[in-house]
């Protein structure tokens, strides 16, 4: 054999070649073991965590908002109820979408074609829960349950829904909620998509308290599984936790949501309802304070709105409705008690009287002659009546303009400003509600600033300006709440109270800043204003209640120059030109003592439009010491 032949034979020896195959095979399979080692042992923990993250999913448990109570513990103004939403999972009704949509159109009145289109849009993501209808009524719920067997893929999902129990009553105080938007979400870590956030009133101010803390549930889920909460039965939300295959989802860990803290308001809902009922058909405000503590018993404003509307509608409709409300010429979103200001008219005379008495300019016997007009330079100011010789008490009771023109002129604008500020006019009252208006008491500095573009003569303070301010005209504006705070001071012995709606805050009042002598005189004037029934009667006679010591002061604030409508009868005066009607009142001889301010926009006369409302309020408040819920029956309730 040649060496070459041997070599060839060796090379083609099948046994050797089989051995080569065996070696290669061993190498290949050893590679597999090495890679397994790498994956399972070296990086095993990383992959284990990845697998865990894969399957575990956090389901957020939304914290129910805190309850808002009324003044009495058993009165709930805002709570949460179980709302049932109708959802559809396209994958479960594949093939019969059309029939399902048509049936839903019959049962709950949605647009079947539109729903079919939406299902078509979600063709690629058939496990998505489509929201068909929010907040089913009980009738709809029963009919859905009844036809359950022909509605594959249609489910009822439950969630907590805010409810304003008395609807429109106190709506502006409670405020409203809507879903938090994207920008806010980034700034507020406590919130999650879809959370509701307070936008006005108590809901806004006490948002941090009411919000609560969302909980979560860590569940194990299927790759395509969307965790759903199903079941139309009100009850704990985590009871019916399944995914769309109807499989019970395994809960690994739960952190129960924390309810928001409840807030107890000082608002007496019956009184609030009564006040709103009194303002029915008008635009105006009624503020009722506890004169000693500053508790707001009622802050009625008309026209109002029902905060429930923001919760029931779908988001886009929500915005539409919100826009309508915001652009509403009636300004129904604003609580006129503190969110709007008005010229105070004769109500302001109380400030001038207190200031002059305290400064020692006048006393009980001071008398001015009222010929029915007042001349200063070339200008003449009128009085509504020629009162003749009139003294301090009567000037308050009969609201003599000329008396206060004289007093104001002597007092000077600085003193008026000082005392107005002390009594809380033109200053924030400090109420714990948002968007409070400050009002304005004109001063030389203010005029200089406000008319900076006019020539020197026109922006300089004139003696006539002081005359205007003295009777609460000119640029003077205050809020009804400020007027109520002022009235409270006169009732409670000269203490300025801070009004508030959250009982937790507790009363806060200044030391008495009005001397007893002054108070006594002003109170006598205000009593006479209400109590003097026989002619010449006081301007506040329509607020009189037999056997009650009611203090009162009317105000009739012109909104346009009197020259415009001098020749017109009252009926013919355009609505916008009519004077605002004011009445501030206080009750001395009952406990708790209350201070009331009534404002009727363009009500013509404080005496006839506002004073009777104050009388009703006072009568109602003291007639019932337990709330009269018959009044509340008139109020439309939330669903």
């Amino acid at each position: 054999m040649t060496p070459g032949a041997t070599k060839k034979a060796v090379h083609s020896d099948p046994n050797k070649r089989l051995r080569v195959v065996a070696v290669m095979l061993s190498i290949a399979f050893a590679t597999l073991v090495v890679q397994l080692w790498r994956l399972q042992i070296v990086h095993g923990s990383e992959y284990f965590d990845k697998a865990k993250n894969n399957r575990l999913r956090e389901v957020r448990l939304r914290a129910p908002r805190g309850i808002i109570y009324g003044r009495d513990e058993h009165v709930i103004l805002a709570d949460n109820r179980a709302a049932c939403d109708l959802v559809l999972v396209p994958v479960d009704c594949a093939g019969v979408e059309k029939q399902v949509c048509m049936r839903l159109e019959d049962l709950v009145g949605i647009n079947g074609d539109a729903l079919e289109k939406r299902i078509e849009e979600y063709r690629r993501r058939p496990f998505t829960q489509l929201l068909v209808r929010q907040d089913l009524s009980m009738t709809e719920l029963t009919s859905i349950e009844e036809f359950n067997y022909v509605l594959p893929g249609v489910f009822v999902v439950q969630r907590p829904q805010r409810r304003y129990v008395y609807g429109r009553t106190g709506g502006q105080i409670l405020g409203w909620l809507n879903e938090i938007d994207g920008d806010e979400l980034e700034r507020k870590p406590k919130y999650a998509l879809g959370d509701l956030i307070g936008r006005a009133g108590v809901e806004l101010v006490y948002e941090p308290l009411l919000k609560g803390t969302n909980g979560y549930m860590i569940v194990s889920r299927y790759a395509a599984g969307e965790v759903q909460m199903r079941g139309g039965v009100p009850g704990p939300l985590d009871q019916a936790l399944t995914d769309q295959f109807g499989r019970q989802v395994e809960v690994e860990e739960t952190l129960a949501p924390e309810w928001g803290q409840s807030v107890s308001l000082t608002i007496d809902v019956a009184l609030q309802a009564k006040a709103e009922a009194l303002l029915e058909g008008e635009r105006g405000a009624i503020a009722v304070l506890d004169a000693d503590t500053g508790e707001a018993l009622a802050l009625a404003s008309a026209p109002g709105y029902d905060p429930n509307v923001f919760l029931i509608a779908h988001r886009t409709e929500d915005r539409q409705r919100l826009r309508e409300l915001l652009e509403d010429p009636d300004k129904r979103m604003r609580n006129r008690c503190y969110h709007e200001h008005y010229p105070p008219g004769s109500v302001f005379k109380l400030v001038v009287a207190v200031a002059a008495l305290e400064e020692g300019l006048i006393d009980e016997s001071t008398s001015f002659y009222c010929p029915g007009h007042f001349d200063l330079g070339d200008t003449t100011w009128g009085c509504w009546h020629a009162h003749g010789h009139i003294k301090t008490v009567d000037a308050i009771a009969y609201s003599c303009d000329v008396f206060f023109y004289n007093v104001g002129k002597q007092l000077g604008i600085e003193k008026i400003n000082e005392w107005a500020a002390r009594m809380g006019l033109g200053e924030f009252s400090g109420i714990d509600l948002p968007l409070e208006e400050k009002g304005l008491i004109p001063s030389p500095e203010w005029k200089e600033r406000a008319f900076a573009d006019l020539d020197r003569w026109n922006r300089a303070w004139q003696p006539g300006d002081t005359i205007n301010v003295a009777i609460g005209q000119g640029a003077t504006v205050i809020t009804p709440l400020q007027a109520a705070v002022m009235a409270a001071a006169i009732v409670n012995g000269g203490k300025r109270v801070r009004p508030y709606v959250n009982q937790e805050l507790g009363p806060q009042a200044s030391d008495s800043y009005i001397s007893q002598r002054t108070l006594e005189l002003v109170q006598r004037g205000m009593r006479k204003c209400v109590d003097k029934q026989d002619p010449p009667s006081g301007t506040g006679r329509f607020a009189h209640i037999d056997g009650m010591a009611i203090l009162g002061k009317t105000g009739t604030a012109q909104v346009v120059s009197q020259d415009l409508y001098e020749d017109l009868s009252e009926e013919k005066t355009p609505y916008e030109w009519r004077a605002h009607a004011w009445f501030v009142a206080g009750v001395q001889d009952r406990r708790p003592r209350i201070a009331v301010c009534v404002l009727v926009e363009h009500g013509l006369h404080g005496s006839t439009a506002a004073a009777p409302l104050a009388r009703e309020i006072i009568a109602f408040f003291y007639a019932k010491r337990a709330p009269d819920y018959a009044v509340l029956a008139k109020v439309e309730n939330a669903p």
């Binding site: 099948p14 089989l18 195959v21 290949a28 597999l32 080692w37 994956l39 894969n54 599984g225």
Partner: protein
């Protein structure tokens, strides 16, 4: 020295085409490995059947039926004389081609490929049986060719033999199966004793033709390969070709050393990894059995295949070695490629794992391979031992 007389069984002296006596001459190591793997396979499938998905089919029970069918087929092959089997090779080959033609015309589509034939209640994949036919055909051909295989044209003819069923399978859109044919030819050619430089040439040609075929591949095949090469590659909208690969690695890796326990696999049972009862069953095994279970199975495969190769050397005739080499390659390619895919060493192409993946036709093929491996070394008409 004379062999002891009692080793000679007179009844074997007469060579029979078919005799159950062959069952007494099995290699019990191989039988042991096969039954171990089959048992692990059934257990894994039992776990797969426990999935929470509504009405998960009882894969384990169905697979047990196929195991019985496979055992009968393997037994039949074992009992048949090897040389007779070999003489049937051209018939098997033509028959397989005929079935593949039928499937192209009458086949039903499933899982993206038209490779199934409906036989009453059964669905049957002729391409699987074609593998066995090809092994026997090549063994037959190499035996006939003898040393002429060292000439290039005989070698090319061998490729032509393999190319025929391969083209049919490609036509059926079953790229994975088609790709297993090539290593089989390659390994058998090598064992048959062809020139090495010819093999290198062929390998080169294969690489060139793969490059040429690249643009004609289906998009999802291309994308999967590209995703494997470059995991950061931007995926087309709405599809992620990396999903299987990523999830499979997570599944395997999360098993760690001891695994999550029988029936406790989260990745698989919660459907993060689809196809966990077929092509990705090894992931399920590795997740629930951990490194211990996975390495055990890899080890069993290795032991089985190496033992089979060792048997190849004891074959009374060269054709037996060739058949064993072919069958070992079929099993090895499937086992290696499948596991390599699940652990991220190869791009995702659909290939089943012998003994574990659910699927009747392939189980049948696997058992027939085992039968052929056990059959080839049995000596008849010789002194045993």
């Amino acid at each position: 020295m004379m062999k002891p007389v009692y080793d000679f069984d007179l009844r074997d002296a007469r060579i029979r085409t078919f005799t159950v006596r062959n069952l007494g001459h099995l290699d019990w190591f191989i039988v042991g490995f096969v039954f171990s793997l089959a048992a692990i396979g059934l257990a894994t499938l039992h776990s797969a059947s426990m999935s929470g998905l509504q009405a998960a089919p009882r894969y384990d029970l169905r697979q047990a039926v196929w195991l019985c069918v496979g055992l009968i087929a393997a037994g039949a092959i074992i009992c048949t004389d090897h040389r007779f089997m070999l003489s049937l090779a051209p018939l098997m080959y033509v028959g397989a081609l005929a079935l593949l033609t039928v499937v192209l015309i009458l086949g039903i589509e499933a899982r993206g490929g038209q490779s199934w034939l409906r036989l009453g209640p059964f669905r049957f994949q002729p391409s699987e049986v074609a593998k066995i036919a090809l092994v026997y055909m090549l063994a037959w051909y190499f035996t006939k060719a003898g040393r002429r295989i060292r000439k290039l044209r005989f070698l090319l003819l061998a490729f032509a033999i393999a190319a025929m069923p391969c083209l049919f399978v490609v036509k059926q859109n079953d790229l994975g199966t088609a790709l297993t044919f090539l290593p089989v030819v390659f390994a058998m050619l090598f064992v048959a004793g062809c020139r090495r430089r010819h093999l290198f040439l062929v390998a080169l040609l294969g690489a060139v033709s793969l490059y040429a075929a690249w643009p004609h591949l289906k998009e999802h095949h291309r994308e999967r390969v590209l995703a494997f090469i470059d995991p950061a590659r931007e995926q087309p909208k709405g599809k992620d070709y990396r999903y299987h690969q990523i999830q499979s690695k997570i599944t395997v890796g999360s098993g760690r050393m001891k695994g999550k326990g029988f029936g406790q696999g989260t990745q698989t049972h919660l459907n993060y990894l689809p196809e966990y009862h077929t092509d990705f069953i090894f992931s399920l095994l590795a997740e629930e059995g951990g490194f211990i279970g996975a390495a055990l199975v890899v080890g069993l495969f290795m032991a089985l295949l190496l033992r089979a190769l060792a048997l190849a050397r004891t074959c009374p005739e060269p054709s037996g070695s060739l058949v064993i080499a072919g069958c070992v390659t079929v099993l090895a390619v499937h086992a290696f490629a499948n596991i390599a895919i699940t652990i991220g060493l190869m791009p995702v192409i659909g290939l089943p794992l012998p003994f574990l993946s659910y699927g009747g036709s392939f189980y049948l093929t696997t058992m027939m391979c085992v039968g052929a491996v056990l059959n080839a070394p049995i000596r008849k008409g010789y002194f045993t031992g």
